[in-house]
Assembly symmetry: C2
Homo-oligomer: 224 residues x 2
Amino acid sequence: MEQRLADTIAQDLEELIFDGTYSDGDRLDEVKLADQFGVSRTPLREAFQRLALSGLVDLIPRRGAFVRQPGPVELMEMFEVMAELEAVCGRLAALRISDAALKELADANTRCQMAVDAGDPDIYYLENERFHRIIYNQSGNSFLEQEASKLHRRLKPFRRQQLRFRGRMSQSMSEHEDIVQALSDSDPEKTADALRSHVAVQGEKFHNLMSSLKSHAQVVSSSR
Amino acid sequence: MEQRLADTIAQDLEELIFDGTYSDGDRLDEVKLADQFGVSRTPLREAFQRLALSGLVDLIPRRGAFVRQPGPVELMEMFEVMAELEAVCGRLAALRISDAALKELADANTRCQMAVDAGDPDIYYLENERFHRIIYNQSGNSFLEQEASKLHRRLKPFRRQQLRFRGRMSQSMSEHEDIVQALSDSDPEKTADALRSHVAVQGEKFHNLMSSLKSHAQVVSSSR
DNA sequence: AAGTGCATTTTTGTATACAAAAAACTTGAC
DNA sequence: GTCAAGTTTTTTGTATACAAAAATGCACTT
């Protein structure tokens, strides 16, 4: 029973922030949360440190912990970086990818296609994630893989939104095909460009969605 | 008087790890360090959380905190990512940079030149850092700026090593000139390429240094 | 002598206690 | 009624206390 509470609490808090239970600017009350989780303040404060460094929380000395959801501008910036990181992964992977991994990509894609046919965004999302992770991995640079995964995870709730656009799933599919083609051609620049625009489009779609809504908290909360 | 000890401790510990007081695999003894810093274990443990997330420390449940210096392979990976991040900064900055910033770059460069003439690596290092930070900033993407700065900071102790190579300072200088030229030409790709190779060279130099110190460790493309 | 099982010691993780700072509230002057 | 100074209440930051897990040591068996 006795295992790291601080760890699980950090994850739980992350969830609570992602799913919109806490929105931008909210203060995280130590005693209230400690009560809620049934623990003392100590593990909570350790969890806060983690959240602070991953950017989900602002830790203001002698003030407390405040959740910090990225605004529209920062989100666009993050998508831009994600696009570039994926492009780099692709450029490196084009020269380093194994035949086995290429086959895995193709498999993930056929499962994506099945999800498109079935009109199931959840399965599509799952397979899409696998697709991208394979490319991160095949960059042959595990530090890059980690960084890309980290940002990918952070953008997860927002990335997901754009699948709601009519036709986006099938468009995304054909982009995937292009990427696989470029990879099997071992063409670094073509792969990089394909991935960059594939991700950049997601950012743009999201931006469209944002500007059509008032509060992005709604967007986040509906992604659960 | 009473201000965040956890913060200062995290920084101090970082220093201690960077300057080699603690090396790879060493366990950080909570009570010993608490004694040493004259504080209790609580702020120390909070500091550990931070170090863990920035990758300097492995936090193994029920075991303790172990310092984790990147090995040669991981260092090369980090330099590769740094090179790509700087390239992205440059590509964006080429289109977005202000005249004022261009002038600042030129100024930093002349101060670099003065440092080269004086044979002062410390001043060179300082101005070089300023030079790069300006480019991060002029990418116009503050998230990217942050990420680049973070990695730059983490590579600091290793980056510095390569200035020891004979002639590296002046070579670095002329690369800086090329970068400024590409930026003032507003040429994204040329800027990106110039920055990428500028940083990649640092990684290679460092690699040379490593393999001349230790028994030649071959860097393989696919790890694990 | 090596290995195993148990008791002891260390060390980690969490709870609680306490001190200092910030926020909230009260009271009084204008 | 508003503002300000002082007082109370909350809340953060740190220290200490305690419980559980891991590490260590030691006797005992083979």
